[in-house]
């Protein structure tokens, strides 16, 4: 056991990970978490790499409770570059039931060792929900209820990350009648700072960004009221969806496989929960393949990050839209109509002037009263002797 742990860049060198792959990792991090994260708010991937490289590999203890292991799988579903490898070399995954070789008593010992060696410094990542009914007997780890394990381990951790919807608010096990009383981490570990990363599964870069931010900056990212990091969960899918233009123009797919569906039109009418789901899936896709995310492949979003939506609201039931910013392209109630052209305005002036001029000229040629009375008695005066000129 070395006393001085190597920095991340030293370890990567030792592990034979190319610098190029490391820079690519940093670039991906910047795209995944561009704002609200001091680690990635840098001008270039090299600068991010510099900061990350200087840090020590953070120790991560990963506990599984009522889970399907999907959240671990999401970490591994990466290939170009082999970022799974990278991730596992950037962090020090000291306990992970699925990935480690040990089992049985050796596994229990590994957990104890990991905790003791990194007391107060490790990051606890929890996957899966915790049953609370009947003293939590519905999930046991080495004979002890999950509730107890979580409290023990969580107390000794520096920070807790609830990976996935199950750990964030209960997830699948909490659906329906919730027979086991499944609940998320933050309702149990009330004293510790918990970062929720809901999703089924969430994007692996969310986890990586949180862990590295902690490792390099020593602090957790800005969280919203549900303890979700703002850099990934601050807006709904609907506000960042590539199919939003179709929604705004009223083009909807009505059935799977119909013309609209083939054209890639909005899936709102098929029950897409994009308008009510906070997540970053629309910009960070999955499996490192572009457009591999539910809406991208034509499947309506089921709202897997949201409590009350996922595993609760029927998949094909349309979401209620509240507080959605209306598109700028919609016309306003009163739009101006009609205008005046310069030629027309000029013409009106000219006509008015013409008529005025003609009238003026005409009136000049008419005699005034004085001129009329001056002609009295002249040959032009045809008034009768009685002074009248009119008839009858």
């Amino acid at each position: 056991m070395r006393n001085e742990k190597p920095t991340i860049s030293e370890h990567l060198k030792e592990a034979g990970v190319s610098r190029r792959n490391f820079i690519q990792l940093c670039t991906t991090l910047m795209i995944a978490a561009p704002v609200h994260l001091s680690l990635t708010r840098k001008a270039s991937a090299w600068e991010v790499a510099k900061v990350v490289g200087k840090a020590k590999r953070p120790s991560v203890v990963w506990l599984h409770f009522q889970d399907c292991t999907g959240c671990s799988e999401t970490l591994l579903r990466t290939s170009r570059p082999d970022v799974a490898d990278l991730i596992l070399n950037v962090i020090s995954l000291d306990y992970h039931e699925t990935l480690m070789a040990a089992s049985g008593y050796q596994a229990e010992a590994a957990l104890k060792q990991a905790i003791d060696e990194n007391l107060g410094k490790f990051v606890l990542v929890v996957e899966g929900s915790i049953p609370t009914k009947d003293q939590g007997q519905y999930m046991k780890l080495a004979g002890r209820p999950a509730l107890q394990v979580l409290k023990e381990v969580g107390q000794k951790a520096a920070a807790v990350v609830a990976m996935g919807s199950c750990a964030s608010w209960g997830g699948v096990p909490s659906a329906g009648a919730n027979p086991t009383g499944a609940t998320g981490v933050d309702s149990i570990l009330t004293e510790k700072p918990v970062v929720n990363l809901p999703g089924c599964p969430p994007n692996p870069y969310n986890l990586l960004a949180v862990v590295l931010e902690y490792a390099t900056m020593g602090r957790l990212p800005a969280l919203d009221e549900k303890n979700r990091p703002k850099f990934a969960y601050d807006r709904v899918i609907h506000d960042h969806c590539p199919r939003r233009a179709h929604f705004d123009a009223g083009r909807f797919a009505r059935e799977f496989g119909d013309e609209g569906h083939r054209q890639g039109w909005c899936l709102y009418r098929l029950g897409c929960k994009g308008p009510v789901t906070h997540a970053a899936c629309s910009t960070r896709h999955f499996n490192e393949v572009p457009d591999v995310w539910p809406i991208g492949i034509g499947s309506p979003c089921v709202g897997c990050t949201e409590k009350g939506i996922a595993f609760n609201m029927p998949i094909f039931q349309t979401a209620e839209l509240r507080g959605i910013t209306p598109p700028e392209a919609l016309p306003l109630i009163n739009t101006p109509i009609g205008k005046v052209g310069p030629i027309a305005a000029g013409m009106v002036g000219a006509i008015a002037g013409g008529i005025g001029g003609a009238a003026l000229m005409a009136s000049r040629r008419l005699p005034t009263g004085k001129e009329v009375s001056a002609t009295k008695g002249s040959p032009d005066d045809h008034t009768k002797p009685d002074g009248k000129t009119g008839g009858d």
């Binding site: 739009t335 008419l366 005699p367 009263g369 009329v372 002609t375 009119g390 008839g391």
Partner: protein, 416 residues
């Protein structure tokens, strides 16, 4: 030159093709050209009308406003026939001709303005009529008036001409005149009933504008105000025309007849103004006239022009001043026309943000049709006995005609 008007005499001593006449014909021809464009391309490209201001200036100015000017036959006729102002008979032919030409021009432009004129034949099918529509009343009444009573009132100068220049038709002319004499009261009665009906219906048209017509104009009495305005507009048009023609072609002016017309016009305007202002006060909207906006401005402009017109009319009558009379009638005509035009366009705000201004083509067409009417007037008064003159002018005309017959040049200009 002041003299008594005793008989209607054509303007025999002026050639037909004068510069003003050619100019008017030119404008008219231009208008006809533009009308062809309008018929082919549609109303949109040819005008500035839009869905908010669906009526541009053709309907509202040429038809609704200028036929107000063309109510001379109606107003002066009523004064002469119903109210026994016998000295106005001598200007009746001028009034009838100006009215007829104004109506003809306005109605033709109405035909240009409607979008689907080929369907107009339904006007002859009473079972298709919507009797509640003021526009129907206008559409039936105005052409009927123009083509029946007004046309018949304009026949006499033509029969006179026939009688004088085509001796072989004299017999037919006499027979026709005998028939006309018998029917005259009934024709003339129609000639006052129909304009009363449609001039008021022209006012009723904007009633359906509802509260989009500014309250200083929108009133249930709009039809009455329109027909009353038509009355003094008719007077002013005829008086103005007479004064204008007299200076243009150096014909004598009969101040007594004009003074009579002035008095009637002044009386009509005064009673109209009283009624209008009383209506505004009783409807409680007089406060709007004192705001600093364009509507109050228009109201005061109308009122000022008409108020000044009354004063000028009385003053010019007292001073027997033809130039002042002319100015007075110009004021009165402008004020009255402004009143009739305002509720249709200037004081009509269909929705916020809506605006309208005519396009050059629209203005040319409007102007051109007026020019056509003026050109027709200029031509007809030179050939037919329409404008009033003293008897001595008639005798000079007869001498002139004889000389013209000798020289075989009907429009030679005499040396004297």
């Amino acid at each position: 030159m002041i003299d008594q008007w005793e008989r209607n005499v054509p303007v025999y001593d002026v050639p037909i093709w004068t510069r003003p006449f050619i100019a008017m014909c030119g404008l008219g021809a231009l208008a006809v050209l533009f009308v062809t464009y309008r018929e082919l391309a549609g109303l949109g490209p040819a005008s500035g009308m839009n869905d908010a201001y669906a009526w541009g200036i053709w309907k509202t100015f040429n038809t609704m406003t200028l036929t107000g000017l063309g109510s001379g036959a109606f107003a002066i006729g009523m004064a002469a026939w119903l109210f026994k102002r016998h000295n106005l008979h001598v200007v009746m032919r001028t009034a009838c001709l100006t009215s007829f030409l104004a109506y003809l021009s306005g109605l033709m432009l109405l035909g240009v303005d409607v979008g689907r004129p080929w369907n107009f034949y339904w006007v002859f099918t009473p079972w298709r009529w919507n009797l509640h529509s003021p526009l129907l009343e206008v559409a039936v009444c105005m052409p009927t008036y123009a083509m029946i009573p007004l046309l018949l009132e304009n026949i006499p100068p033509f029969t006179d001409w026939l009688h004088q220049h085509k001796p072989k038709y004299r017999e037919y002319v006499r027979k026709a005149e005998a028939v006309m004499v018998r029917c005259y009261p009934f024709i003339v009665g129609l000639a006052y009933l129909l304009p009363a009906m449609h001039q008021s219906s022209l006012g009723a048209l904007m009633l359906l504008g509802g509260n989009r017509v500014y309250p200083l104009w929108q009133t249930p009495w709009l039809p009455v105000l329109y027909v009353w305005a038509a009355a003094f507009l008719g007077f002013s048009c005829v008086a103005g025309t007479l004064l204008f023609c007299s200076q243009m072609w150096k014909r004598p002016i009969d101040l007594d007849v004009l003074v009579e017309m002035n008095r009637l016009t002044a009386g009509l305007i005064a009673s109209w103004l009283v009624f209008r202002i009383a209506d505004i006060v009783f409807r409680g909207v007089i406060g709007l006239a004192f705001k600093f906006d364009i509507y109050a401005g228009l109201f005061w402009m109308e009122t000022a022009f008409l108020g000044v017109a009354i004063w000028m009319l009385r003053d010019s009558s007292r001073q027997r001043d033809p130039r002042l009379m002319f100015h007075a009638h110009l004021m009165s005509a402008f004020g009255g026309m402004l009143y009739r035009f305002d509720p249709t366009t200037l004081a009509f705000q269909p929705k916020p943000g809506a605006f309208y201004f005519p396009t050059p083509i629209e203005l040319f067409i409007s102007l051109g049709f007026v020019a056509l009417a003026i050109a027709a007037f200029m031509f007809l008064v030179k050939v037919l006995a329409i404008l009033p003159a003293p008897m001595r002018l008639w005798y000079r005309m007869e001498t002139h005609e004889k000389k013209a017959a000798e020289l075989q040049n009907p429009r030679f200009v005499a040396a004297d």
